[in-house]
């Protein structure tokens, strides 16, 4: 059977579960399944034959875990032989006329940057398995049940570097619709199909109902056939055993739904049997498969997200900050091999609205390749944004594309001979998109006409390697307006032609236009808006520049890309919430506003509201006693009733603290004459480094007029007692979070008794109970609010 042709004609039926079938047929727990199959060829042969007889087009050799890491755990080291023999065994069991797939599963180890297995080691481990399977004569490869996109890429690269055999890649998704490592199905699809997978999909993890949604999500963006191999329903734990409860008829009834949603290859995973496959085959007999809806796609991806660059969509900003040019701190850090600024810049740009991140680490005095690989590793775990690999060094780009756990955009490939001859094949191998820079022959083409010619020449060469216009982003080539006032218009013409005639995405390095000019932001923003009107789809810029991002938002509205202006409205409705607030509170008295600020934990406005109350003629002490104390007491009551939770309690307490500090100059005279409610020493006991709870209690006590001496955390018993002797507190407050340190409280109480200290003890903390407190002769406080009540009782 010629698989690629047959897929276009009908739904391909794959086999069902092997593992659960072997377990039913006596494979004991704890053995190596692959070795057990070799030792029991009749049993695994019967499983394969059963699926053949059920009508499967493809049976899967039982080599799922036949990689070096897994086999070595069972003392088996001849990986090639095991794979070859299991493939031959499958072939022997089913005979000719049916395809045998070489099964490749996870090593169980996570690959860098997500785990400790080196990426190249992972590729070598998989190559060893692939060689064995090729020796065994498999017709296709089935990389399946993968959880980590980087390990999946390693397996796919291993196959593709050894053979052009058809390769299906399926990942397994959790209930929340992502792999265990956070990859969503569309992102996995974009990464894997661009890297050369011949079919992509999902297997295991869910039943058919849930898997339908994953297939449906992938189909619009798929350039390859889709694969669905669900379990026989969601697993249930019954009497300690994992049971798949969906029957064969129900399972098979999903067949036509899978086909109509776009799955082209169907099979089963855990819990399915030949009976399920027979009924599935019957259900989809004669059903016409839905072909991939597109031959190519403009999209890039990271390990955990993707950006589709198609259709009428808002302008994408490529964050330009990760570039050492003109940034001394970044240069220094890269020289020292550190990446903290790179990570910070990534997070900031992501937060500011960048859709992609440009990464350029080229500078004298460093190993650019190693630095680039370090940056990719760091950024892949720090940011979800896809990366733009920016280097003038072809080797650096090649190494980066190999490691990058997604589909990258290359910045850039020009019409220069070396870039075309060396870089285009590299981009093709890793399925990357690239920015086409219309430069050639060492000259900068001044006119749009000259640029069009270079664009067409480069594209012709790229098309010969399989690239389409979807894979390309045309650089409009922005030159400084200060050196040639006609230059910006030529760029706009290039963008307009690329967008309307050539039909490709376009990009500009925005800030070049204002080079050498004062107040550059306005030129950049104006040029951005003009370029958007000509069809610009991407801009390399600093998303931290507010004017620029606002111009982008406005441009998206005016160019009809922000439907109903919803993004624009959403953005600006969040920028000035204070306006609403002021309107809402305009009818309240100044006293009400102070009270409300404390109740709401409004630290920003408390000083202004206190000023208002004092301007209305109220005395500071009266504000404290008559407004603030009742308000914070009300907060305590709300917290007790669970109507407030901890952040609200703390915000109110902090507002109170800030308010008291503000009033202090006016309170000073009265405070001098007013004694605190009592002095309290507070500490976290020795051995315990947890002090948040203790700090909250201290804040609450101070707000209620107690003098608090905070000795900190991990405080030895002797220090607490020494301070108590010196300061003569009314109460000693002790906190402990662990059972092991809680015992320290008892020691302190006993030591105080020995020293005949005249004070009471209040204790609290996660593990402390009222009973324990009473057993050591202390008083218990559950939280900061109760601590105030207890302290007031103890000092009354």
């Amino acid at each position: 059977m010629l698989l690629k042709e047959t897929i276009r004609e009908r739904i391909i039926i794959m086999d069902g579960a092997t593992g659960t079938e072997l377990q039913k047929k006596g494979m004991p727990a704890g053995v190596c399944p692959e070795i057990w199959c070799l030792d029991n060829p009749d049993i695994i042969g019967a499983v394969h034959a059963g699926y053949r007889d059920a009508g499967a087009d493809i049976v899967t050799a039982s080599t799922f875990g036949a990689n070096r890491i897994k086999l070595n755990q069972y003392g088996t080291y001849d990986v090639v032989r095991v794979n070859r023999d299991l493939a031959l065994l499958a072939r022997g069991a089913v005979g000719a006329g049916i395809l045998v797939g070489g099964d490749i599963g996870s090593t169980g180890r996570f690959v860098r940057p997500f785990g400790d297995l080196k990426f190249e080691d992972a590729i070598e481990i998989y190559k060893e398995q692939v060689r064995g399977l090729l020796e065994g004569g498999v017709d296709l490869f089935l990389i399946e049940t993968m959880m980590d996109i980087q390990e999946t890429r390693a397996a796919l690269i291993a196959v593709k570097e050894l053979t052009d055999t058809f390769t299906s890649v399926t990942m397994t998704y959790e209930a929340h619709g992502r792999t265990l490592n956070g990859t969503d199905p569309v992102t996995a699809l974009i990464t894997l199909q661009s890297l050369g997978a011949d079919a992509v999909g999902c297997n295991c993890s869910t039943g058919p109902e849930e898997m339908l949604e994953l297939i449906e999500a992938m189909k619009p963006w798929a350039t390859v056939p889709l694969v669905a191999k669900p379990n026989a329903g969601m697993p249930e734990l019954i009497d300690g055993a994992t049971i798949f409860t969906m029957g064969a008829d129900t399972f098979a009834s999903f067949g036509t739904r899978f086909a109509s949603r776009g799955a082209n290859l169907l099979g089963g995973c855990c819990g399915t049997t030949p009976e399920y496959i027979r009924k599935l085959k019957e259900a989809v007999a004669g059903v016409k498969p839905v072909q991939p809806m597109r031959a190519s796609i403009s999209a890039v991806s990271s390990a955990r997200s993707s950006v589709i660059l198609e259709g009428k969509r808002t302008l994408s900003i490529v964050g330009e900050r990760i570039n050492p040019t003109g940034k001394k701190a970044l240069q220094q850090e890269l020289r020292e091999g550190r990446m903290s600024l790179v990570r910070t810049m990534a997070k900031e740009q992501e937060h500011r609205g960048a859709s992609l991140l440009d990464v350029n680490v080229g500078m004298p005095g460093i190993d650019e390749k190693e630095t680039m690989l370090g940056a990719i590793g760091n950024l892949s775990v720090t940011s979800d944004l896809p990366l733009v690999i920016d280097s003038s060094n072809i080797d650096v780009i090649e190494a980066a594309l190999r490691l990058y756990p997604g589909r990258a955009l290359i910045n850039s490939i020009s019409g220069e001979r070396a870039r075309i001859e060396k870089l285009l094949p590299v981009a093709a191998k890793y399925g990357a998109m690239f920015i086409l820079l219309p430069l050639a022959g060492g000259d900068i083409p001044e006119t749009a006409e000259k640029r069009k010619k270079i664009i067409e020449d480069v594209f012709e060469k790229a098309a010969a390697l399989g690239f389409t216009k979807s894979d390309i982003v045309i650089d409009g080539l922005v030159m400084a307006a200060s050196s040639d006032f006609k230059a910006p218009m030529e760029t706009l013409k290039t963008i307009e032609w690329s967008s309307d005639v050539f039909k490709a995405n376009t990009i500009v390095g925005l800030s070049n236009v204002s080079f050498g000019m004062p107040e550059r932001t306005w030129l950049n923003a104006a040029f951005l808006a003009m370029a958007v009107s000509k069809g610009l789809t991407m801009a390399i810029a600093n998303p931290g520049v507010e004017e620029l991002m606002n111009a982008k938002l406005a441009g998206d509205v005016l160019a009809g890309r922000d439907r109903d202006a919803s993004r624009y409205i959403h953005h600006f409705s969040h920028v000035s919430p204070k306006v609403k607030q002021k309107e809402a509170s305009s009818h309240k008295t100044p006293q009400d506003e102070v009270s409300q600020a404390i109740l709401e934990g409004n630290r920003e406005d408390i000083e202004q509201r206190l000023s208002g109350a004092m301007d209305s003629g109220m005395d500071a002490q009266k504000i404290v006693d008559g407004i603030m104390i009742p308000a914070i007491t009300e907060v305590g009551a709300l917290f007790d009733r669970k109507e407030y939770f901890l952040p609200q309690l703390i915000a109110s307490a902090e507002t109170m603290k800030k308010g008291i500090a503000f009033l202090e100059p006016w309170l000073r005279d009265t405070t001098l004459n007013k004694k605190p409610k009592g002095r309290i020493i507070i500490a976290t006991v020795q051995g315990d480094v947890h002090d948040i709870g203790k700090n909250i209690v201290a804040l609450m006590l101070r707000n209620h007029g107690f003098e608090v001496v905070d000795l900190g955390k991990n405080v030895p018993a002797e220090t607490i007692i020494q301070e108590a002797v010196r300061l003569k507190p009314s109460v000693i407050g002790l906190s402990a979070l662990m059972t092991t340190t809680m015992a320290g409280m008892k020691e302190i109480v006993e030591l105080a008794q020995l020293k005949s200290l005249d004070c009471r003890f209040m204790v609290g903390g996660a593990v402390v109970t009222k009973a324990y407190a009473e057993s050591i002769g202390a008083h218990y406080a559950r939280d900061g609010v109760e601590a105030v009540r207890v302290a007031e009782t103890l000092t009354a």
Binding site: G19, Q23, A29, G30, V31, P33, F64, G65, S106, G108, F110, R112, P113, F114, G115, D116, T145, M147, T172, E174, H176, R178, L180, N181, G182, G240, T242, C270, R304, K347, H351, V381, P577, Q581, E600, G601, F639, R641, K642, E643, Y644, F645, L646, P647, Q648, I650, A651, A653, E654, G687, V689, H690, D691, I692, N695, I696, M738, T739, T740, T741
Partner: protein, 205 residues
Amino acid sequence: MQVQIFSSIHIPLPLEAIYRRLGYKSGITKIDERKREEIERHIEYAASLVCLKGAGLRVPLERVEPTQVFLATGADIRSAKLAGFLKGCREVLFVGSTAGSAVMDAIRGDIEGDDMTRGVVIDAVASEMTDAALDWIMGLFNRLLARENARLTRARFSAGYGDFLLENQKMMYDMLELGRIGVTINENCILIPEKSVTAVVGIHA
């Protein structure tokens, strides 16, 4: 037996658990829109600081006696509660996770500085995410164990509970090679950064 290191664990934000940890009671606690926005901003900030890493190690059990657990490595743990928990298991899985030091610096800065509200929110986010990272590691091992027709116990057991003394954390720290993910342990057997945890899980055939 080889420790598996997870250099970067990505989990869905455990929002419900974070709110619950902060004392939120569904249907009772009332938060106005402004406060909710503030808290969610803090949660988002905290999540950006958390850098989850983890480790897992399967160790066969030699035998389990009523008050003592004997590992195939030759080590043993005295704890009747743990022994009861591991009854019927053939192996144990040691797991550990950390939220990293950046988030601890932020908590300390806020609590000792002037934003205790944000500090307590970050603290809750870091605690829950560190715990969720252990769930993630257990989920991974459960997947890997399925093909062996084995599974993990649903619960996990940490040193410091009952008679499973905190001192055992040192052994777990060493076995899991937690130094490789930036965790240290002090003389009181407390893991540093503070938002770091270890646990024992049973493996049933």
